[in-house]
Symmetry: C2
Subunit: 345 residues, 2 copies
DNA sequence: TTGAAAGCGCTAACAG
DNA sequence: CTGTTAGCGCTTTCAA
């Protein structure tokens, strides 16, 4: 099934013009006479000619390709971001190379592939990289924008939301509701998002004279969060409120609480998530959460990347966008105060 | 931010060898002496040299790239398939070019981009194309595999599941449960999956002496399915069971039924979905559905594509894989029979 | 084993 | 406006 590869030369021969005339006909800013263009187009159609993008890229030194790297699509928040950002770039005439970060290490190899593939920019979704990895790409002169993760390296643009403030709100709000045994359901322990949300949370609790009651790790994943929840409630003193580092885990937690542990949300346990993915608003879940301004994040990230690609010496930026508490029904109504009833499993 | 582009020639100069020697050092099956290899590698490291994939592709005429085309990632079923298939190809050393089908037409342009981008194969997720579109790609000699959609063209490999049988089961099973007003919540009306599931469903009902009570279109989308559900129950004689053409719509329907229309599932209305995406098993939904053998589908599709890429004259295949009913709690228990209680909105 | 030379298919000066 | 000419960075014969 090897295609015979019709080249511009073949078309030129058939049309009775030079090869460069053919090339011009397929370039946007061409200056070709009507007559030649017609002859060329006719010949091209007859032969089924398509310009070879690879050859074009080689000479123009522009691949019009952007790499998108992502950690996983299990979380619908990220498939949403991926789709939106991809459609945007596609509309701008870019191709998208998709890379998944390998589950256990080997990310350096992916970084290498990206560099070799001559992409003009890299969009990273929730990718944690260390300073060295970051500098490898940046030193190569490829613009990089990271969405929803922070790296300690100013050479790379970063778009995120105010995880600390969100965590702070969650902690203080749960305390203000009268909860006293407030737990943290952690995401990937090494991720900046997890750290920042956790730190804010702890400070928020502290502002109300509380400390973090307990912590379990859910790695931002559904199944892991179910297990973490079971662990919380197998303990002698289970929490009466949970702040989860993302929505997916928060929902996992509620599912486990309600349908496996026989507890009621929010009467027995209040739950707060983070992201506000579409599903969080579904009535079954009705999850109180911190809304990340996803549209704005995508807009800023794509804008930033395009800017760095097009403008020489545009400086990388670190953006922290505000989050918004979305009060729904996974948390108690305010004003009732007091201690919560306890139900053991 | 233009990278200065270190070429193999630069490395050669520094290492004091010929340019082709450098090339050989970066080719898998090279025959290079230990001494030259060391010199070259040292020079390469010093300069930060990376072979240019584009130039390599041009000369080897193999891009080691596969295009993945998808309609939307709103449905987690497809983000799951995308992730799994992508990881597989990535592991096999392929790059993935991601394309989204534009919402309203303009798919021909995307097809054109794909052809021009010199990919070695195309994986289409739930993409509906007509015979002409199909033949354009196939005539170009690019292997194509379509997952979860059927096109009337044998030149293209197609991997799907037995939509008709699934529909048939849903129709006859709901009837056997005693339901008499059984409706169809349709996906994209023009899609083969929707047609096949619908046809099977109608036959399944017929086998029990019933006809389709009513039909609304949800376009495989959450919001549309919510509206469709409202329309079902605004009618003078609402259904007492719904077969939804996919899980996402089935869940949308249940959300609307339970939390907006005040109805109970399965007591007032039974609901059956299609796909068995992970979320369908979450206890809140506990959706009875038809499981598509997603792992097998991915395996077969990737296998088929690789085979067609590597083996000249491997013939395209059309695979129909079996679906499995997953009985959960969105349908009544069997054996109760009888008419259902009716609740108006 | 290594280097020289010939392109892959295309764009981009440069003359005409 | 058109054709000629020179490469883009690499792989791959072919001699040495």
């Amino acid at each position: 099934m090897k295609r015979k590869s019709i080249t511009s030369r073949d078309v030129a021969k058939l049309a009775g013009v030079s090869q460069s005339a053919v090339s011009r006909c397929f370039s946007p800013h061409a200056k070709v006479s009507q007559r030649t263009r017609e002859k060329v187009m006719a010949a091209a159609r007859e032969l089924g000619y398509r310009p070879n993008t690879i050859a074009r890229s080689l000479i123009t030194r522009s691949s019009r390709t952007i790499a998108v790297v992502t950690y996983s699509l299990e979380n619908p928040f990220y498939s949403f971001v991926l789709e939106r950002a991809s459609r945007f770039f596609q509309q701008q005439g870019y191709h998208l190379l998709l890379f998944f970060a390998p589950p256990n290490g080997g990310f350096d190899a992916v970084l290498d592939e990206i560099i070799q593939s001559q992409v003009e920019g890299v969009l990273m979704l929730a990718i944690t990289l260390d300073g060295e990895q970051a500098s490898v790409v940046a030193d190569f002169g490829i613009p990089v924008v990271i969405i929803n993760r922070t790296v300690n390296y100013t050479g790379i643009s970063q778009v995120g939301s105010d995880n600390y403030a969100g965590g702070f709100w969650a902690g203080s709000y749960l305390a203000s509701l009268g909860h006293r045994r407030i737990a943290f359901l952690a995401g990937l322990p090494d991720s900046s998002t997890n750290r920042q949300r956790h730190d804010g949370f702890v400070e928020g609790l502290k502002s109300q004279g509380l400390t973090c009651h307990s912590l379990e790790v859910g790695n931002y994943r559904y199944e892991d969060a179910c297990h973490a929840t079971r662990r919380f409630f197998a303990a002698p003193s289970p929490p009466d409120a949970i702040f989860s580092a993302n929505d997916l885990m928060a929902i996992a937690s509620m599912e486990t609480l309600r349908h496996e542990l026989g507890l009621t949300v929010p009467d027995d346990v209040s739950v707060i998530g983070f992201d506000d993915m579409p599903m969080a608003a579904w009535p079954s879940h009705s999850l109180t959460t911190l809304k990340q301004p996803v549209d704005l994040m995508i807009m800023k990230a794509t804008e930033l990347l395009l800017e760095q690609i097009n403008e020489t010496e545009s400086t990388p930026q670190q953006l922290t966008l505000p989050v918004t508490p979305m009060l729904r029904n996974s948390t108690r109504r305010p004003g009732r105060g007091g201690a919560s009833g306890q139900t053991s499993n």
